[in-house]
């Protein structure tokens, strides 16, 4: 799908070429993250459905999730036991991490272009994301 983009990138000026290259890498990164996540969620889903297909489905009342499905270390520990719900949660964690990795990569991209202003902007965004994912557990 992306092969037709090459001629345009080649005739454009230096910075634009660089921008286009970064856009291409970011596109691949997002695609890979989502694919890996979907694959893990799908496998976890198959295991879960295989074991629980006949159980009643009830989401009317909110119970909150057990502790091991709420934190990053807990989810990773759970997933290695190949329990369906733990595996799905690992896939969802990969999905949530994909934009975070994308932002982290953009820092490198902007640094390569010597764009100090956008390196700073991107670091601010990354810090906010990391706080939410890793630091917010005790704050709320």
């Amino acid at each position: 799908m992306a092969t037709s983009q090459q001629p345009r990138a080649a005739v454009a000026s230096g910075t634009v070429w660089s921008d286009r290259r970064i856009e291409n890498i970011i596109g691949n990164l997002l695609r890979t993250g989502v694919s890996v996540s979907a694959l893990i969620v799908f496998c976890g889903g198959v295991i879960y459905l295989f074991r629980h297909a006949g159980s009643p489905a009830d989401y009317r009342t909110f119970h909150g999730e057990p502790a091991d499905l709420k934190t990053v270390p807990g989810i990773i520990r759970d997933a290695f036991t190949l329990e369906g719900r733990g595996l799905i949660q690992l896939g969802l964690l990969v999905l949530i991490a994909t934009p975070v990795v994308r932002v982290a990569f953009s820092i490198w991209g902007f640094a390569a272009e010597h764009d100090r202003m956008y390196v700073i902007f991107t670091i601010i965004v990354l810090a906010t994301l990391l706080y939410s994912l890793l630091g917010s557990g005790s704050a709320f």
Binding site: Q5, L92, Y118
Partner: protein, 278 residues
Amino acid sequence: MNVLCFTVLVAIGSLVAGLLGSLTGLGGGVVLVPLLTLFFKVDIRYAIGASLVSVIATSSGAAAAYVKEGFSNIRIGMFLEIATTFGALLGAFLATRISGSLIGVIFGAVLLYSAYLSARTRPPWAGNDPPDALATRLRLNGSFPTARGERSYNVYHVPAGFSLMFGAGTLSGLLGIGSGAVKVLAMDQAMKVPFKVSTTTSNFMIGVTAAASAGIYLNRGYIDPSLAMPVMLGVLAGSILGARILVQTETKWLRLVFSVVIVLLGLQMIFQGLRGKI
């Protein structure tokens, strides 16, 4: 209803939501939460958690295609993400302080407003003004491919756009939606970014905004894996399908039809929220 039946039905509903959300640039979340709460009787907190996760999938899946086609403006996206991620933290924090019924009513109001925004006709922007000093300094002006080669554009009213984006982020964190309508409003209307660039850059930003509140939701136990599984896979399939179609589709009629659906769901969310049924 047993787990298998529930999972299959939710997956089909999510696929349609993802397809419509991607085609209109409004995101799958706007119809997903009403679908889960009104039709499947899911607690709104689980619905928001599942929706947030699917919003990340929609955004990342579709953005992967748009970014390569050169429609998205990465600088506009990154600059405005400062506003949306801070807003998302505030929204996720607020979500713990207010009741599910109130969230339902706010959700309905946002749906009605989204429908109003997307149905409104507006004059096309001529784009003849001199470049804005702040936008130039922030290097937000860009270009995108058209049938007649690259078309360049200038960006205006940066502070207004930035403030609207903070609001969009707050709504995203509070309601588990991508806030695509408000994001497009901020870029397309306030900042005068061309429509196609606005929708694709919005899609690109939605994933980062949703990830900012998803971390908090995960830590708080709002993300249930067995519910999020069919929602995420369904929405992802629908959004990939939608991204393939968008590039060559006239979106006017589709947006009108989608607006009607959103109005009906919005009224229902407000009504059920006021009755305390959400």
